[in-house]
């Protein structure tokens, strides 16, 4: 990488690389996957979604660039207030949100034709706030108070997301839990938490499978029930359609795929440009394409791990790791759905899937990670210079 680039784009080069690769694959996959949507919504103008996605991505990358310039310590201060704003917006969503796929997840932004998904924002600031709280309380990290305070914040956010977006709330809960674990919260408490978490999920599944959802059509419960039942092998009357189509896409991709734009399953999969984008990627670019995308997110987490290793401050390490985990977990759940490991969810792959505000929020997340690594680089440089100065 040339010096021009390195001087302007500071931070972990690997993470920059991951961002570029994911963006490019995302543009290609979205272009291919939006064909059906373009016909039904935009009168066959197949470029419409391609251009829109690329436009959003460019705005997102702009935000990413700007974010990575901001000194990360700044976030520590704003995280608390922004977490409360996010919580307010989540409540607002539950009250006024508009329906997308029968799920109230978003707030429409008047005039722009786009919608705002407060859960993305809440996720970001929850990670920051937990990192801040844990890093501030490293001295008394074993105390039950730290555990409970953190857990209450997590449960407020997760509880507000859950009614309309169970899968996102579960990923947020998992991310936050892992973050607590990494942040040295008492291992015993963590064990209790993970056990009760597992117990709760099992209970949820058992309850969902056994309740009668008639008359519950105003909310998401029937959808959850159906998806779990489908995953457990019950025919949903459409031949477990979504998962089956996704499996076909993966199964027919081969090692090198059918080639860009040659997906056939995009016509049969609902939301092939977001929820099932991994299936389209494997179908068109083969196992190789799938491996690259999966690898990118592993690299991301690994580089975040590097930041943890190198970060002189716990806050930076926890924020980077938390954001990296949050995005990777979300991506892996999306992939797990595509290959049939997990029941159908509405989770997207950060930077790859089409989407408006979630793209921006993920870009900001990447920006923050890069900002932290930039800070670490600068710190190292200063240390090195100081060392040089000392030697000299």
């Amino acid at each position: 990488m040339n010096t021009q680039f390195t001087s302007r784009f500071k931070g972990d080069k690997w993470i920059w690389f991951v961002i570029i690769i994911l963006s490019l694959i995302g543009i290609l996959a979205v272009y291919s996957a939006t064909g059906t949507l373009a016909y039904s919504k935009q009168g066959g103008n197949t470029e419409w979604y391609f251009l829109r996605h690329t436009g959003f991505l460019l705005i997102g990358l702009g935000l990413l660039y700007l974010t990575h310039l901001i000194p990360f310590s700044y976030y520590s201060r704003i995280s608390q207030i922004f977490l409360w704003i996010s919580i307010g917006l989540l409540i607002l969503t539950l009250v006024i949100g508009s329906e997308i796929n029968n799920a109230t997840r978003v707030i429409p932004i008047p005039g722009l034709g786009i919608t705002f998904q407060p859960s993305d924002m809440a996720k970001l600031f929850l990670v920051m706030y937990i990192s801040r709280y844990l890093s501030k309380n490293q001295e008394e990290i074993d105390s039950p108070k730290v555990f409970w305070v953190t857990l209450v914040y997590i449960l407020i956010v997760v509880g507000l997301i859950a009614p309309e977006n169970l899968s996102t709330s579960l990923v947020v809960f998992l991310t936050a839990g892992l973050l607590m674990f990494i942040g040295r919260v008492n291992f015993k408490y963590m064990m209790y938490l993970s056990l009760s978490g597992l117990g709760l999920i099992s209970l949820l599944v058992v309850v969902l499978l056994n309740i009668n959802t008639d008359g519950m059509e105003g909310n998401r419960i029937p959808t959850w029930k159906k998806r779990i039942e489908t995953f457990m092998g019950k025919d949903d009357g459409q031949g477990n359609y979504q998962q089956l189509q996704s499996k076909i896409a993966v199964a027919t991709g081969g090692v090198f795929g059918k080639g860009p734009g040659n997906s056939t399953q995009r016509n049969y999969l609902p939301h092939p440009y977001s929820d099932f984008i991994y299936a389209i990627i494997v179908e068109e670019y083969g196992l190789l394409g799938g491996l690259i995308v999966t690898g990118c997110f592993l690299i991301l987490v690994y580089r975040c791990l590097k930041i943890v290793v190198e970060s002189p401050r716990a806050f930076g390490a926890l924020v980077a790791m938390g954001l990296g985990l949050s995005m990777s977990l979300q991506a892996f759940v999306n992939m797990g759905v595509a290959v049939g490991m997990l029941p159908v969810t509405g989770l997207t792959i950060p930077l790859v899937s089409m989407g408006g505000t979630s793209l921006f929020m993920n870009s900001i997340g990447f920006g923050i990670i890069l900002g932290i690594s930039k800070y670490i680089e600068e710190e190292k440089q200063q240390q090195a210079e100081a060392l040089h100065a000392n030697i000299a």
């Binding site: 892992l178 674990f181 089956l244 993966v250 196992l287 997110f297 390490a317 049939g340």
Partner: protein, 716 residues
């Protein structure tokens, strides 16, 4: 750095590595699952996948039409639509559904008043709660109605956003009601009878097949694969049936049967020269005392014909030159016993010796059988040979097949006895169908030439004539012209001075023969004193000097106390022949010889078709604006015309059709009237033929729940 700090860093790192390791395992298992999917996707899985995602849909071929000889439609398949409501369509949000359900229900109640608006709403809400994805909300509606529904709230959003879509299907429509219903046939529970059955393979066409692939959920899209077949629509058949003669014949038969409370009966009208069947009617008394087309007796009921069969005896005697027209026979005053068989004449003879003509004239059993016995007793085979020569012993070939067969007693059969010949000579000991009797009489009418009866004269496919069926001669000289001429004279005598003189008319000569047969009732035989059953028949042709039509009338088991062919069947014949004579024979239309196109008489009907016809013959036409309609909502503007006042200036005046108001249908053809009523969503029943003369409810009546319209048709 303090020791604790170093330790805490270490703990963070170790835990972070553990988390990374977990994530790594997750990522690897995703890839492994993907690889397994690719490797493990054997043919069975692939097949299972493709079975769930592709299907072969049969594309129904449109069944061919059946036409009358003048091109009038007897039966046709018209596209009809069912309206399906997918109450859980992906795009149908609660907001839209709840917001528009009231207005949608109101529209539904107006077009389908079997439910009022609130009932419709309740019905739809219930099914939305039940998550019904396939609710048929209307059946068999026409294209006009589909077009209207597509503008309604919810429905206008289309299949995906609104959930409302339309299933097309071919619906068989018959335009003649009970008229020739059995002859034209119908399809019920997959079995077709009448012409529908006989020409089923032709009419049916060939269904196509199309491979479809699942798009999402219940949405399928057609895909192009090699074995897609497009449907080949059925062939049309043009019959020889004359709607007016059919109506005349059926009406006359019905009246005749009603008067006698007979069990059943049939009439066949044949064009003498060609063998074309112009009418065929079969009626059976239902349990309600009304008569319905049920079985095709004309073709498939084989019974002992009785006296009409004496014609065969006469043919044999004359053709073999056994007797001359002046030879006589001793009628024993009408009573004769031969072995155990007692023969008796229905008409007590006024003289002792009968000529052959007189035997027929008075339908003398004794005379006829004595004549035959005198000449064929020694060689009965020679007599039965005549029946075989005329093809009476085998089932006649005909467009509508019959399952049973005739039987003619012959000397080499085991049941043959000394009484067989005299019995056969007067129409017993053998069973033939009304169609065979008709063929026999028509041979005489046709100067000895036996014609093949037929009912289908043309096969068409998509407007092109595939084949034309020409009249076929079975036997050019089945009977010699001389004998035929002699017998024609004798049959005229039957009507002029004999048993059928009740139907004698000065307008034209009828040649024919009555028949009264005891019905054999299985093992109990004929002679059940209190429960004798008869079959009254009459077969003949007219005008005798130049026969145009040959008719057979058979009435089975009359219960009025009367039973003879002359009392029961002959009047039916006369009813038919009189009307045919006045409509088809006496009035010979002279063709117009105008060089400039003549403006034809235009009747009320379909505007587009009228304009097309006028255009075809070189007359331009224009639609008048109706000043009165400005402030009223007019349905189907300009689709129907009422030219009654403007016919000759060729300005077409639109028929005003207001919403919820019954238009004036008078003067319309049945097809136009039915189509208009169907467009309005109304049911119709009708009687008679021709054009609409009366309607109930009266024109301009508001139509609401009482949505049945009765039409009375009369010839114009």
């Amino acid at each position: 750095m303090s020791k604790t700090k170093v330790n805490s860093r270490k703990v963070i790192l170790v835990r972070a590595y553990i988390v990374f390791a977990l994530l790594f395992v997750f990522a690897v298992s995703i890839i492994i699952t993907a690889v397994k999917l690719q490797l493990g996707t054997d043919d069975k899985f692939r097949k299972e996948l493709s079975a769930k995602n592709t299907r072969v849909v049969e594309i129904e071929a449109l069944r061919g039409n059946i036409y009358a000889d003048d091109g009038n439609l007897l039966a046709t398949s018209v596209p009809k639509y069912d309206v399906i409501f997918d109450l859980r369509a992906d795009g149908l949000t609660t907001k839209v559904f709840v917001g528009k359900i009231d207005s949608f229900s109101l529209m539904m109640s107006q077009m389908f008043p079997e439910r009022n608006a609130s009932d419709w709403k309740e019905h739809l809400l219930k099914h939305r709660d039940k998550r019904t994805r396939y609710l048929k909300i209307a059946k068999d509606i026409g294209f006009e109605q589909v077009k209207a529904i597509k503008t309604w709230p919810i429905a206008r959003l289309g299949k995906f956003e609104g959930g409302i879509w339309y299933e097309e299907k071919g619906k068989r429509m018959y335009f003649m009601g009970e008229l020739a219903k059995r002859t034209i046939g119908y399809i019920k529970d997959k079995t077709a009878v009448g012409l529908e059955g006989a020409f089923d393979t032709m009419l049916r066409g060939k269904n196509g097949s199309q491979m479809q692939q699942r798009m999402s959920g219940q949405t399928w899209r057609p895909i192009q694969v090699g074995n897609n077949r497009s449907a080949v629509n059925g062939k049309d058949i043009v019959t020889t049936l004359d709607v007016r003669i059919q109506d005349i014949a059926q009406y006359a038969l019905q009246k005749g049967l009603e008067a006698e409370s007979a069990d059943h009966g049939c009439v066949i009208v044949m064009e003498s020269k060609t063998g074309a069947i112009k009418a065929m009617s079969n009626l059976k008394r239902g349990e309600d005392g009304q008569y319905y087309e049920a079985q095709n007796y004309a073709v498939s009921e084989f019974t002992e014909p009785g006296s009409t069969f004496k014609l065969l005896s006469a043919i044999a005697l004359l053709e073999d030159g056994k007797i001359s027209t002046t030879d006589t026979v001793d009628n024993s005053w009408g009573k004769w016993k031969w072995y155990d068989m007692k023969l008796e004449d229905a008409v007590k003879p006024k003289k002792r010796y009968y000529t052959l003509s007189e035997c027929l004239q008075y339908s003398s059993n004794v005379g006829t059988s004595k004549f035959v016995m005198q000449h064929y007793k020694k060689d009965p085979k020679k007599f039965t040979q005549h029946a075989s020569d005329l093809g009476l012993h085998i089932k006649p070939k005909f467009d509508i097949p019959s399952s049973s067969s005739p039987s003619i007693a012959t000397p080499n059969q085991s049941g043959w006895s000394g009484t067989s010949l005299p019995s056969l000579s007067i129409g017993y000991s053998s069973k033939i169908s009304p169609m065979q009797t008709l063929m026999l009489y028509n041979t005489i009418a046709n100067q000895g030439k036996m014609m093949q009866p037929y009912m289908v004269k043309e096969i068409r496919h998509e407007g092109q004539t595939l084949s034309k069926i020409e009249p076929q001669v079975i036997n050019e000289k089945a009977v010699s012209p001389k004998t035929a001429a002699t017998l024609t004279q004798m049959l005229v005598q039957v009507v002029d001075n004999g048993t059928a003189n009740g139907i004698k008319t000065d307008n034209y000569k009828i040649a024919g023969k009555t028949g009264t047969a005891w019905l054999s009732q299985g093992k109990s035989g004929y002679n059940q004193e209190n429960n004798r059953q008869f079959q009254a028949s009459f077969a003949g042709f007219f005008p005798a000097n130049n026969p145009q039509y040959t008719i057979v009338v058979v009435v089975n088991n009359p219960r009025s106390g009367r039973y003879s062919g002359s009392q029961i069947a002959a009047p039916i014949f006369k009813n038919i022949s009189d009307r045919i004579y006045s409509t088809h024979i006496r009035v010979q239309p002279t063709p117009q010889t105008a060089s400039l196109p003549q403006v034809p008489g235009i009747l009320k009907g379909d505007a587009a078709k009228t304009k097309w016809v006028l255009n075809e013959i070189g007359i331009s036409s224009q639609m008048l604006q109706d000043s009165q309609t400005k402030n009223e909502q007019v349905l189907f503007p300009g689709q129907y015309i009422d030219p009654s006042k403007e016919a000759h200036s060729v300005k077409l005046k639109p028929v005003k059709i207001k919403e919820n108001t019954l238009p004036d249908l008078s003067g319309m053809g049945l097809r136009d009237a039915l189509k208009l009523l169907s467009d309005l969503g109304l049911k119709a029943s009708y009687s008679g033929y021709g054009r609409v003369s009366d309607q109930a409810p009266a024109p301009n009546t508001k139509i609401g729940a009482n949505n049945e319209v009765v039409l009375i048709l009369k010839p114009y």
